[in-house]
C-alpha cells in the first residue's frame, strides 16, 4: 500500500528539489545590486507609507475574525458549486440553510456594530 504513495513522494522530492535548485541558482548566479528602491517593501505598486511594524488597533482583530468567518463560507461554497448539479435540490436546500445560519451571524455582527470602526 505504501508503494502507491511513491509517485507522490517522488513528486514532492522533485518539487522541493526544483524549488530549492531555482533558489540556489538564483543565489549563486544572480547579481546582487541592492538599491533603496529595490529594498522597499512591495505594496501592490503603491508607495509604502511608514514602517511595516506599526502598532495596529485591536479593532483589526475583530475585523479579521469576521473576515475569516465569512471567508470560510466561500471555502464551503466553492466545492459545493463544483458538485452543484450532482447534489440537486438537496444541495440547494443544504446550502441555503448554511448561508442562512451565517446570515444570522452577519446580521448580528452588523447590528452589534462589529463592522464599525469607532
Amino acid at each position: 500500500m505504501l508503494q502507491d504513495y511513491l509517485p507522490i513522494v517522488i513528486l514532492v522530492l522533485i518539487a522541493t528539489g526544483m524549488a530549492g535548485l531555482v533558489v540556489l541558482l538564483g543565489h549563486l548566479f544572480g547579481p546582487r545590486r541592492p538599491s533603496a528602491r529595490k529594498a522597499q517593501p512591495y505594496e501592490s505598486g503603491m508607495r509604502p507609507i511608514g514602517p511595516g511594524t506599526r502598532r495596529m488597533p485591536i479593532r483589526f482583530y475583530l475585523i479579521a475574525v469576521l473576515f475569516i468567518l465569512f471567508d470560510i463560507e466561500i471555502v464551503f461554497l466553492l466545492p459545493w458549486a463544483v458538485v452543484f448539479k450532482k447534489l440537486g435540490l438537496f444541495g440547494v436546500a443544504e446550502m441555503l440553510v448554511f448561508i442562512l445560519i451565517l446570515l444570522v451571524g452577519y446580521v448580528y455582527a452588523w447590528k452589534k456594530g462589529a463592522l464599525e470602526w469607532e
Binding site: 447590528k111 463592522l115 464599525e116
Partner: protein, 713 residues
C-alpha cells in the same frame, strides 16, 4: 514527437536544414555558458567569443549553400518536418522547414551578410565596448547576434504562418535587445532604451495585424500551413473574396510595422541607437525585409486580391519617395542611411505589391549587400572619427588645439567630417561602391534590381513609376551629398583630421561585401533571368515575366546622373568649403537651405511626423491613461466609490441601524486591573498554581499514564 525518420531520409542535403537553426543555437549557448569566463580569463577572449559566434553563423551559410546545391537537383524543394509543436483537435502546427527556392534565397542572404557582419563586429565591438566603458558586454552582443540569426532562420524557414510568427517575434525581440544594447546611454541616460521601446511598441502594432491575419486564416482555412492555405486559396477567394482581402490587408499592417513603411516607419531611424553592425544586419539587410518576404511568400494570396496589391504598391511607393526626401535633410551619417533604408524598403514593398515578386526579392538581395556595406562602412567612418578624437585627447600636444571637441562632439555628424578620403582609403572606396550601387548607376547590383522594379511599375502603374523614379533621383542626390560631405574636402574637425583607418578584421568583410555589390546584379541579369527561373519553382503562376525596357533603364541612368551632378554642384569641395568658411552666425546649416529653405526645414524635421504622432496619438493616450489612473481609478473608484460610497455609506448605514459600541470596555479593563492583582494572589495562595500550562501538563501526564498502562500492561 520528433520526426526523426523524415529528417534522415530526406534526399540530398535537405535533411541538414535544421542545422541552420541549431548551429547558431550552439554558438549562443556556448557564449552564454563560457563567454563571460573566457572574456575574463583569456587575453584573446574577445577573439574566441567573436569567432565562435561568427563560425556558428558561417556554418549556416555552408548549410544554405548545400541546400542550394540540393535544390539544383530537386528544384521543387520539400518540407522537412522536425517536431510536432501544437496539436489541438484537427489543428496542427509543426516545426518544419520549408526548403524551396524562395526560402533558400533568404537563407543565403541572411547567412552570408550575417556572417560577414559577425566578423566585422569582432573588430567593431572591440572598440565599441571600450568607447562605451563596459567591456563585459562584449559576449552579450554576440549572444544576441546569434539569437537573431536563429530567429531570422526560423522566420524564413517556417512552413506555416505560426512558426513564421515565432521567428517574426524573435527577430523583433533581438531588435529590441540590440537597439537598447547600450541601454544606459543616450539622451538622459535612457535615450537608447527609449528607442528600443519605441521600436518594440511600434512593431507591436504591426504584429497585431499579423495576429489578426493569422486568426482570419485559421478561420477561413482551418490551417496555417503554407501549402494547405495556398492550395485552398482560389476556392476560398471564389466563395468569399472579402476574407482574402482582410487577410492580405492585415498582413500589410504587419509589413508596415516590420518593414518600416508608412505609417509605422518611425521606429527605424531611432533604431540607429543600436551598435552599427546591428543597424547593418537587422535594420538594413535582413529583419526589415521580413515584410517583403512575407508578401512574396503569400504571393498566392495577393494575386487573388488586386485591391490589396494596389494598397501594398501605394504604401510602398509613397514610403519610397517620402523617406527619400527626408534623407536629404539629415546630418547624421546613420540617419541618412536609415531613411534611405526606409525608402529602399518602399521600393521592395511596391515591387511585391505590383506582383513583381522576383524584382522585389532581387532588390532585397542586392539591397542587403550594398546597404549592409554602407552601414558597415559608416560604422568604420564613425569609429575612425572616434579614434581620431581619442588620439587627440591622449596626445598632450594635440590636446591644446582640440577645443572644438567638446563633450557634445558628435562623431556621427557629417558636418564634423570631411576629407576622410585620404585617411580611410579602404573605407572610402567601398563606401563609394555602395553609394553608386544605391544611386542606381550601371553596372552595379543596385542598378539592375531597381531598374527591374521601375520597368514593372512603368508597365503596371504609371503613378507608381513616377513616385519611384522621383525617389530614385532623390536617392542619387542624397548619396552624392553624403559622400561629398564625409570624404571630400578638408577635415572640418580635429577628430576628422586625425581619423584612422579600421583594422583588417573590419575592412576585409567590407571588401567582400563590396565585391558582392559589384557582382550582385549577375543573379538576375536581363536576358538570363537566373533568379526568375529559380523562383518560378516556388512562385509558379505568380511570376511576372520581367522585361528589360531600354528606355526605362536609360532614363533612370540619366536621371541618376543628373542628380549626382546636382549634388556635386551643391556640395563640391570648393563650394562647400567656401560655404563652411562663412561666419557661423550668417551661415545656415546646409547650402541647400539657401535655395529651398522651407522645404529643407520640412525634411530636416522629418515632416514633424514624430511630433504629429505625439500630439495626435501618444499625448491623448497618455492623458487618457492618466485620466483612468488618477481620476477614474483613484479619485472615483478609490476615493469616492470605495472610501466614500462604500465605506462611508456602510458606516452611516450601520450607524443608523445599530447602537453605539460599548465605550466602557477600556475603562472597565483599567479598573479591573487592580482586582486582577488581588485575584492572582488568591489563586497563588490556593492549592492550584493557576497557570494553564500546569493544568495542561496535568492533562498530558494523565494521558501518558493511562496510555502507558493500557499499552505496557
Amino acid at each position: 514527437m520528433f520526426f526523426q525518420e523524415t529528417v534522415s531520409q530526406a534526399p540530398q542535403f535537405f535533411g541538414l536544414v535544421p542545422w541552420i537553426v541549431f548551429f547558431p543555437v550552439i554558438g549562443l549557448l556556448f557564449n552564454i555558458a563560457f563567454g563571460g569566463m573566457i572574456l575574463k580569463r583569456s587575453p584573446a577572449g574577445e577573439k574566441i567569443v567573436g569567432w565562435v559566434a561568427s563560425i556558428a553563423s558561417g556554418l549556416t551559410f555552408v548549410v544554405s549553400v548545400l541546400l542550394l546545391v540540393s535544390l539544383l537537383g530537386h528544384p521543387e524543394g520539400m518540407v522537412v518536418p522536425l517536431a510536432e509543436w501544437i496539436k489541438i483537435g484537427s489543428f496542427s502546427a509543426n516545426w518544419s522547414f520549408q526548403v524551396d527556392t524562395l526560402s533558400v534565397v533568404m537563407m543565403l542572404v541572411v547567412s552570408i551578410v550575417g556572417t560577414l557582419i559577425h566578423i566585422y563586429s569582432i573588430g567593431y565591438m572591440h572598440e565599441d565596448v571600450r568607447h562605451n566603458g563596459d567591456p563585459g558586454r562584449y559576449g552579450r552582443f554576440f549572444v544576441f547576434m546569434n539569437l537573431f540569426i536563429v530567429s531570422m532562420m526560423i522566420l524564413v524557414s517556417a512552413d506555416n504562418y505560426l512558426m513564421l510568427f515565432v521567428g517574426w517575434e524573435g527577430v523583433g525581440l533581438c531588435s529590441y535587445l540590440l537597439i537598447g544594447f547600450w541601454y544606459d546611454k543616450g539622451e538622459d541616460g535612457i535615450g537608447n532604451a527609449v528607442a528600443g521601446k519605441k521600436a518594440m511598441i511600434t512593431t507591436r502594432i504591426g504584429d497585431v495585424g499579423m495576429l489578426l491575419a493569422l486568426f482570419a486564416m485559421f478561420w477561413a482555412f482551418g490551417s496555417l500551413d503554407f501549402n494547405t492555405i495556398f492550395a485552398k486559396a482560389p476556392q476560398v477567394a471564389a466563395a468569399s473574396p472579402v476574407i482574402i482581402l482582410l487577410i492580405t490587408l492585415f498582413m500589410l499592417v504587419a509589413v508596415t510595422g516590420k518593414s518600416a513603411q508608412i505609417p509605422l516607419y518611425v521606429w527605424l531611424p531611432d533604431a540607429m541607437a543600436g551598435p552599427t553592425p546591428v543597424s547593418a544586419l537587422i535594420h538594413a539587410a535582413t529583419m526589415v525585409t521580413a515584410g517583403v518576404y512575407l508578401v512574396a511568400r503569400s504571393a498566392d494570396l495577393y494575386i487573388l486580391e488586386p485591391q490589396a496589391q494596389f494598397m501594398v504598391t501605394l504604401v510602398g511607393s509613397a514610403t519610397a519617395l517620402f523617406a527619400a526626401t527626408i534623407a536629404v535633410g539629415q546630418f547624421d551619417i546613420k540617419k541618412v542611411l536609415a531613411y534611405s533604408t526606409v525608402s529602399q524598403l518602399g521600393f521592395m514593398v511596391a515591387a511585391v505589391g505590383m506582383g513583381a515578386f522576383v524584382a522585389g526579392m532581387f532588390h532585397l538581395v542586392t539591397h542587403a549587400f550594398f546597404k549592409g556595406l554602407l552601414f558597415l562602412s559608416a560604422g568604420s567612418v564613425i569609429q575612425g572619427v572616434e579614434r581620431g578624437a581619442h588620439h587627440i585627447e591622449h596626445d598632450p600636444k594635440l590636446k591644446k588645439q582640440s577645443k572644438s571637441l567638446g563633450p557634445d562632439f558628435d562623431p556621427q555628424d557629417m558636418r564634423n567630417m570631411g576629407g576622410l578620403r585620404s585617411r580611410m582609403k579602404v573605407t572610402f572606396w567601398v563606401y563609394l561602391i555602395g553609394a553608386i550601387s544605391l544611386s542606381g548607376l550601371p553596372p552595379l547590383a543596385g542598378f539592375w534590381s531597381k531598374d527591374e522594379i521601375l520597368a514593372e511599375a512603368n508597365k503596371l502603374y504609371i503613378w507608381a513609376y513616377v513616385l519611384l523614379a522621383i525617389a530614385a533621383i532623390f536617392t542619387a542626390f542624397y548619396m552624392t551629398r553624403q559622400v561629398l560631405m564625409v570624404f571630400f574636402g578638408k577635415p572640418r574637425s580635429a577628430a576628422a583630421e586625425h581619423a584612422q583607418e579600421s583594422p583588417p578584421v573590419m575592412t576585409i568583410p567590407l571588401m567582400i561585401l563590396a565585391g558582392l555589390t559589384v557582382l550582385g546584379g549577375l543573379i538576375n541579369l536581363p536576358e538570363f533571368h537566373t533568379l526568375e527561373h529559380w523562383m518560378e519553382h516556388t512562385l509558379g503562376q505568380a511570376i511576372h515575366k520581367a522585361e528589360f525596357v531600354m528606355l526605362v533603364a536609360a532614363l533612370s541612368t540619366v536621371l541618376a546622373l543628373l542628380a549626382i551632378v546636382a549634388g556635386w554642384w551643391f556640395y563640391n569641395p570648393r563650394r562647400y568649403e567656401a560655404f563652411w568658411a562663412e561666419p557661423a552666425a550668417k551661415r545656415p546649416d546646409d547650402p541647400l537651405r539657401r535655395l529651398i529653405g522651407p522645404l529643407f526645414e520640412l525634411w530636416k524635421n522629418k515632416y514633424w511626423i514624430d511630433e504629429l504622432y505625439w500630439a495626435a496619438i501618444l499625448n491623448p493616450y497618455i492623458a487618457l491613461s492618466r485620466f483612468l489612473a488618477d481620476v477614474v481609478d483613484w479619485r472615483f473608484w478609490h476615493d469616492w466609490f470605495h472610501d466614500q460610497a462604500l465605506f462611508g455609506g456602510f458606516n452611516r448605514l450601520t450607524g443608523l441601524l445599530a447602537g453605539r459600541i460599548d465605550l466602557g470596555i477600556i475603562d472597565g479593563i483599567a479598573n479591573g486591573l487592580g482586582t486582577l492583582a488581588q485575584r492572582v494572589a488568591a489563586v497563588l495562595r490556593s492549592v492550584q498554581t493557576g497557570f494553564v500550562r500546569n493544568y495542561a501538563l496535568s492533562i498530558f501526564l494523565g494521558v501518558v499514564i493511562i496510555l502507558g498502562y493500557l499499552l505496557l500492561r
